[in-house]
Symmetry: C2
Subunit: 210 residues, 2 copies
């Protein structure tokens, strides 16, 4: 049975994810979800003392819980809530890191409907506090990954608000973002990509002025 989050994203239990990767004969990471890839990367960062970045748990509204004798509490009724912040955050060399990760099967553009308005508001607030806020977008059919800093994303978001297109085209994406070349360990070295592009205090100060 396929479990899906309200946004349609497939829910993959750990065990299943593992077994599926075993069937991945090519030894490439195709078929892995962006979440799997980022979790691996973040584990690598923590265990190597590079950064402390974690995915937040999925927000759930708990309605009913049962307490079977001699066993763990069981949640018997709960509902998914839409997140009010980004999915990932943490700290890296004194800087607060805050990002949302999104995957699209679309080959030509990234639909902005993938992002909640309150997540955009959150990223804006993070920038005002001199945190580094961005999106990581995966074009899964193209196997390409992009980091879009909030300051660049905000312009495209505003364009949609102003009645313009509701997506970021692939060519626009190439223009406004930093592409991550996937590797082996870590799988998606987005912090290295940020560093290479001098995404540091200056960026933050620039973002702050938004």
């Amino acid at each position: 049975m396929t479990i899906r989050y309200p946004n349609g994203k497939k829910y993959v239990p750990k065990a299943q994810a593992a077994s599926r990767n075993k069937t991945d004969i090519s030894f490439s990471n195709r078929g892995k979800t962006l979440e799997d890839e980022l979790n691996e990367t973040n584990e690598y960062y923590v265990s190597n003392g590079i950064a402390v970045i974690h995915k937040k748990p999925v927000p759930i509204q708990i309605v009913n819980v049962k307490y079977p004798a001699r066993s763990a509490a069981v949640i018997t009724e709960a509902y998914f809530r839409s997140p009010s912040t980004t999915d990932y955050n943490g700290v890296w060399e004194g800087k607060h890191i805050d990002f949302e990760a999104k995957e699209t099967k679309n080959k030509t553009s990234f639909p902005l409907q993938n992002i909640h308005e309150h997540q955009v508001e959150h990223m804006k607030n993070v920038c005002k506090q001199q945190g580094i806020a961005f999106l990581i977008v995966k074009f899964s059919t193209l196997d390409r990954y992009f980091i879009v800093l909030y300051e660049n994303f905000a312009k495209k978001w505003q364009r949609m608000i102003d009645g313009g297109r509701k997506s970021i085209t692939l060519s626009e994406m190439e223009e406004i973002s930093i592409e991550i070349k996937p590797g082996y360990r870590p799988r998606l070295d987005y912090l290295h990509a940020l560093k290479e592009n001098q995404i540091t205090v200056e960026t933050i100060e620039r973002q702050e002025k938004l």
Copy 2:
């Protein structure tokens, strides 16, 4: 019916919490959970542009989800997972803030069993990345609140590891921590308390050496 987390902490649904506060005739915040007080404070911080700090959702292992026709997905089987990080984090004036909040009814000491070992490990890692990590401890029967910076907490934790006492006495707490005087808006101005005590980069650098 009383819902409890694995750590025995009572789960209070929003509605119930609200109604309970209405019965709080004294108009003091007695009876409010520390979580309620911190959420109010954090909402105040965000809406006043002071900081962006949020509580992380409770980590849940989802086992089964149903999809009733024409209505939201229902989680029909799930279990509480023990948190691998602290409950609260965010960014304040360029600094990464990371803390765990604990309440005790104990009048004389704070039992360390309230803290998970991996949470201590997490706080240590956050300090190494120059984040500000601490505990907020509420002695609910005394209505007193303390901020314990990781560097001070770590010594008491180590004492336990070394076979010493498994708690921090109230008098030790007064010594090693910053007391928060609860107010009206915000209820628990812990950032002001940190600022007053010059908990800034110097602290971070001190913590880093741990």
